[in-house]
């Protein structure tokens, strides 16, 4: 099956005139990151067009230092992180003006320590994660006020031990992934109430074996990754039934076309293909490379950069 998944990703990137492909241009940089990361996890990175992608990234860096999803689009932290992740996979960070990337990230930090996604000022703990993940990969964490950034993320902690987008926002697995990842990268995991949060997270597992992102929601491969990675980060991955989750993820594969969908029987896409394969890796599947739970990148890539984010044991 792995070959089929790799074929699916390789072909997806080549259908540039496709309507659906064009519609998703606004997130292209992240799309490339998903595709390349899952290819690397499967040992198939060489099948992608490295030169074309690196040139594309160069052309997406703006005057401000930030990187956009595609040419003609505006820069944003989401795509700045994706671009930096891609260049880590390819080990060619010098394709970017790194100092200006750092300036861009730094410039988005607010008085209260939070980060805006871009100059228009939307605030979200996702952007706090993007900021520190970008800087950690560049080895420039000291460029921002880390203490203030931590204070803001902790102010988003809720009664259930989880985290939301902003102070007062409801806990959500994607947000929890960002915040535990953030606290890992900033060396603050002891601030998490691992027993309480771990309970909430392991309660995301449903009878199908899949995990949902919030109480009373449907299971989904991408939420399975966010919950699983968060559990790994706080040292409680053994609190879910790994065998059942593995079976759920495998049931989301499309055996004809390759790729993974959000749920069994739905259409596949590169986003869920990455999180399906990454989930299998965290569950200990030895056919794919080991994935890092904090940055969702192959461990060997991070080792090359000398980066080993904390996880609780």
């Amino acid at each position: 099956m792995l070959d089929k998944h790799a074929d699916y990703i390789a072909v997806y990137g080549s259908k540039k005139d496709d309507y659906e492909y064009t519609l998703s241009e606004y997130l292209r940089m992240s799309g490339i990151y998903w595709g390349l990361t899952v290819m690397d996890l499967m040992g198939q990175l060489h099948r992608m067009n490295r030169n074309e992608i690196v040139e594309f990234i160069k052309s997406c860096q703006h005057e401000s230092g930030g990187i956009s999803a595609s040419i003609g689009h505006d820069p944003h932290l989401l795509y700045t992180l994706s671009a930096v992740q891609i260049l880590c996979l390819y080990d060619c960070m010098d394709a970017l003006d790194v100092d200006r990337v750092v300036e861009y990230v730094k410039g988005l930090q607010q008085e209260d320590g939070s980060f805006a996604g871009d100059k228009w000022g939307e605030i979200d703990t996702r952007f706090s994660f993007c900021a520190v993940a970008t800087l950690a990969l560049l080895g420039k964490m000291d460029a921002i006020n880390v203490d203030k950034a931590i204070e803001f993320v902790l102010s988003c902690m809720n009664f259930d031990g989880g985290f939301g987008c902003r102070p007062g926002s409801e806990s959500h697995a994607g947000q929890i992934y960002c915040c535990t990842g953030f606290l890992s990268l900033t060396g603050q995991l002891h601030q998490v109430n691992a027993d309480l949060l771990g309970w909430w997270l392991c309660e995301r597992q449903l009878p199908s074996g899949g995990l949902n992102g919030r109480p009373e929601k449907l299971p989904d491969v991408c939420y399975s990754w966010w919950v699983l990675a968060s559990l790994k980060i706080i040292g409680k991955i053994h609190w879910i039934d790994k065998g059942k989750l593995r079976a759920f993820i495998l049931a989301c594969q499309d055996e004809e076309t390759g790729g993974f969908a959000d749920r069994p029987g739905d259409m596949v896409d590169p986003f869920h293909t990455l999180f399906g394969v990454a989930g299998l890796s965290l569950l200990g599947d030895e056919q794919v490379k080991a994935v890092n739970p904090v940055l969702c990148m192959p461990e060997d890539v991070l080792q090359r950069r000398g980066l080993q984010p904390d996880v609780l044991s």
């Binding site: 997130l27 992240s30 003609g72 994660f129 109480p215 991408c222 609190w239 029987g265 739905d266």
Partner: protein, 533 residues
């Protein structure tokens, strides 16, 4: 990273014939042309710096079907800001109102678009004469369609803040929502943020003068209001005992503030020139204190030099009682007792309800952990049977409680021997309470590892851990007094930890001088083919 991928979710795969496929392809090609033309027209306008109403029109076309195209919202904002400089207030009011109208239609089609909600907040804040009542009623309508839409909840919180809606009003709003549907995690969550604002816990005389905690989740609620909340939650879980929302909320209500930061133990040894200080929570080591070794993640700091301040602090077993009760309420025993009665009633009706069983265990622990030990253990067994997917969670929680009970039972004189064998322990915790222990017996449990926090047992001389599942010895480093280790019948497999190890160079280490070292290492690591000593 994830932005908004609602489009990628829930698309059911349907089988199509070749002919249908061909027709669809043509249709898509047509749509693609129109789309690309519209996109290029928008980009061209922007490149030329044209900020007119036609540009608004063009971006509107695209955004109404693709609201996640963030750059187009940015373009609209640039145009609107430009119009502000050339139009008067009444004209702007009209333009912004039509923008809100457009946004409402976008949200109807795609109520989970980050871009649309952010833009709505941006517009509302710039409107010359904002109408917050209308915005609140928009939220009401949106939440009546999907009461879990967190974008809408967040927007509502922004509107409430901007327009100064009193907290009581919002609490009443959650009353209404919960009243119509108990199973609404979002509403319970909102209550958890409102109650502490409206009914703060009366200040604790002990902690007065301390700066308030920076963490919102530790804010507590006054007792009078708590009693009312208990009633509301009980209504919820008696109505639908399988609805997790109310149970999560109940566990929070019953809880109390975080464990206080304090020194749980101090040990001074003149012979070893060593001072050991155990803290109840992670501490930021002051730079003025000389410290040599900080053991991370283990809530402890080991200081290798004697320091002066320690003379007055003494080990006391009384501390333990407070420490372990702290996870559950400080409320009056009578209140907890009546909560336990209610849960027991429900359990009679629903003997296999896991939420109820877990809550009963927590209440029993808050009331009297030792008296209820037997019942607690029995309930844990039932829990693992009715909810096998989470049996590892229950085992770890049960282990924690068993360790607490064993510590509670320790007499002052026995403080140096800690024995907890044959209790199905799967994890070790509270090691900060065991700094003085010289002899620990963990035999016949289910432990897979001795955690790094084991380094807190600085006085440990004898470790008995026969018949467990221990895989490696990582927790045994940094134990200077250890004399005897019993690890019969475990899972120690150096092979498993480094199965691919082929080349081992140990030259220049004192260990290489000992007799028979080569044979020993080869026995431990048979995969090593090249050994340098």
């Amino acid at each position: 990273m994830h932005n908004s991928f609602t489009k990628l979710h829930g698309r059911v795969k349907v089988k199509t014939t070749a002919q249908q496929e061909e027709e669809k392809k043509k249709e898509r090609e047509k749509k693609l042309k129109i789309y690309v033309a519209a996109r290029d027209a928008c980009f061209a306008k922007r490149k030329e710096g044209i900020k007119d109403e036609e540009a608004l029109e063009l971006t509107q076309q695209l955004l109404s079907s693709n609201p996640d195209f963030a750059t187009l919202w940015n373009q609209r904002r640039e145009i609107l800001m430009h119009l502000e400089t050339i139009k008067d207030e009444d004209e702007m009011q009209k333009i912004y109102e039509s923008e809100l109208h457009f946004l409402e239609s976008c949200l109807k089609v795609n109520p989970k678009s980050y871009g649309s909600w952010f833009h709505r907040g941006w517009v509302s804040a710039r409107l010359p004469r904002p109408n917050w009542v209308r915005e609140l009623s928009l939220c009401d309508r949106c939440l009546s369609l999907d009461d879990r839409n967190f974008h809408c909840w967040d927007y509502r919180r922004m509107v409430v803040k901007m327009s100064g809606v009193p907290v009581e009003k919002e609490l009443e709003f959650t009353d209404r929502l919960i009243g119509s549907n108990f199973s609404n995690y979002s509403s319970w969550h909102y209550r958890s943020t409102l109650l502490p604002l409206l009914h703060p816990e009366s200040p604790d005389p002990k902690s007065s003068g301390d700066p308030p905690s920076s963490q919102a989740h530790s804010h507590r609620v006054c007792e009078e209001q708590l009693l009312k909340e208990y009633e509301l939650v009980q209504n919820a879980f008696f109505t639908d005992p399988n609805d997790q929302s109310a149970w999560f909320y109940y566990r929070w209500l019953l809880g109390r503030a975080d464990r206080e930061e304090m020194i749980s133990c101090v040990y001074v040894s003149r012979d070893e020139e060593r001072v050991v200080v155990g803290f109840s929570r992670p501490v930021n080591v002051n730079v003025f204190i000389l410290f040599v070794e900080v053991i991370l993640e283990c809530l402890a700091v080991v200081l290798l030099f004697s320091i002066v301040l320690l003379g007055t602090i003494q080990w006391s077993t009384n501390v333990n009682v407070l420490v372990f009760r702290s996870e559950l309420s400080v409320e009056k025993t009578s209140v907890l007792q009546s909560e336990l009665q209610s849960c027991n009633q429900l359990q009679e009706l629903e003997p296999l309800n896991k939420w109820c069983l877990l809550t009963i265990i927590l209440l029993m622990r808050a009331l009297d952990p030792l008296r209820y030990e037997k019942e607690t253990l029995a309930h844990f067994e039932t829990l693992k049977e009715v909810d096998p997917m989470r049996s590892a969670y229950y085992s770890d929680l049960c282990s924690k409680f068993m360790i607490e009970n064993t510590i509670l039972k320790m007499e002052y004189a026995e403080v140096r021997v800690f024995s907890i064998s044959d209790k199905n322990l799967t994890t070790l915790c509270h090691l900060d309470q065991l700094v003085l222990v010289t002899h620990i017996n963990l035999s016949s449990n289910q432990l897979h590892r001795l955690p790094l926090q084991f380094a807190m047992l600085q006085c440990l001389e004898v470790l008995e851990a026969d018949s467990n599942l221990i895989e490696n010895l990582e927790g045994l480093y940094h134990l200077p007094n250890l004399e005897e280790v019993l690890l019969r019948n475990n899972n120690l497999q150096p092979l498993a930890s480094c199965p691919k190890l082929k080349h081992l160079d140990l030259r220049g280490n004192p260990v290489t001088l000992s007799d028979g070292i080569e044979a020993e290492i080869k026995a431990l690591l048979p995969s090593v083919t090249k050994l340098l000593l």
